[in-house]
Symmetry: C2
Subunit: 214 residues, 2 copies
């Protein structure tokens, strides 16, 4: 699904590693039977298919890509650093990402003062953890690409909160600027107008998964 | 928390690997401030503390134990097998475990016919994947211990559904018998009466985390 942040995680890996592939988009509200029966019983995207093998769950997909195409490996090779990144991703999941859809809905009405505080609290944990230009060090790594899809979307939320500002999260703001310059990020980038069209349809309860297509 | 299935995952690893440790239980509805500030910002158990380092998220905790105490390693060393186990755990999370608390509540009223079908559908995926005595092969491994806490609880649900029966899931039923014989499972086992006491208090909206103590 073109607007799915989880699928984007894997598209970013594919682009950063330069792996040739074919993309098949599915309609998430009307999932094709072949998808549920043959690809992923849980019904979620992304799914990678290679030589008849199915790999699902965005994080597993990305680890799989680093395993199957070990050149330009994005996943930390040091197991302790890998665990640190997994824990940080879990903090993000539970303290930031979990508020994302409420945030999107609230952005339609402009009233997200209560959400904003929770959001900001979670973001501060990431801000503190970002001690180098990227979460992966001097170059973007797995955690950078796995976090990015939400940050790309944050920046398109209308009247978005102060919590995401340079004043509150200077390191994250600079990291976002750096990320926007990455060729993989550019290759997978979705323009603001398309997100906006999708978000409006999503908030109205009838997501337009084909927004912007022909 | 003594009744938390996620904390039990890590207790099982500690027992299976024979690692000396001290356990501190916390009240999940009235979390101590020191826990949230110093141990895990997300506020969940388990948390491992070693030499001042904090590790949280049950799966990360268990991988950490295998890393810090490499003898009798439970996590698959083959990255592809490890990914297969992660995907299977995700199928379990989303197709079985996600219904667990609704199931518990329904068990109080005896009406879980609709849930039972969903539950059974997810269990069939595990049944199919269990081609050896244990998910880890001839001996229990990471996936066996990471799944077990829910199966221990399933067997204590009153009037539990046919979906969990030997007739429907013969391999899983035999696996459960084998798991019950494992020293680590015995060491962390909670008797039916205690679960029952806890489940009743949980369903009534006032979980008794100290059930059976003092």
């Amino acid at each position: 699904m073109r607007f799915c942040p989880y699928a984007q995680r894997t598209r970013l890996f594919l682009a950063a590693k330069g792996i040739e592939h074919e993309t098949i988009n599915i309609h998430l509200k009307q999932k094709p039977k072949w998808f549920l029966l043959e690809k992923n019983p849980v019904g979620k995207v992304p799914v990678l298919e290679k030589d008849g093998e199915m790999v699902f769950e965005s994080l597993v997909c990305n680890e799989y890509l680093d395993h199957a195409y070990p050149e330009h490996c994005l996943t930390p090779r040091d197991p302790v650093e890998k665990m640190r990144q997994t824990m940080l991703l879990s903090v993000f999941d539970q303290m930031v990402m979990s508020h994302y859809y409420s945030y999107l809905r609230a952005s339609q009405t402009g009233d997200y003062s209560a959400l904003s505080k929770k959001f900001g609290f979670g973001l501060q944990h990431l801000e503190k953890a970002l001690t180098e230009p990227f979460f992966g060090g001097n170059q973007p790594g797995a955690l950078d690409y796995n976090l990015w899809p939400w940050f790309e979307r944050f920046s398109t939320i209308p009247n978005r909160s102060e919590e995401l500002s340079e004043r509150r999260v200077p390191r994250l703001a600079a990291w976002m600027e750096r990320m926007l310059e990455q060729p993989a990020v550019k290759a997978c980038y979705m323009p603001y107008e398309l997100y906006s069209q999708f978000v409006t349809s999503f908030a109205a309860g009838d997501p337009d998964y084909d927004a912007g297509l022909g």
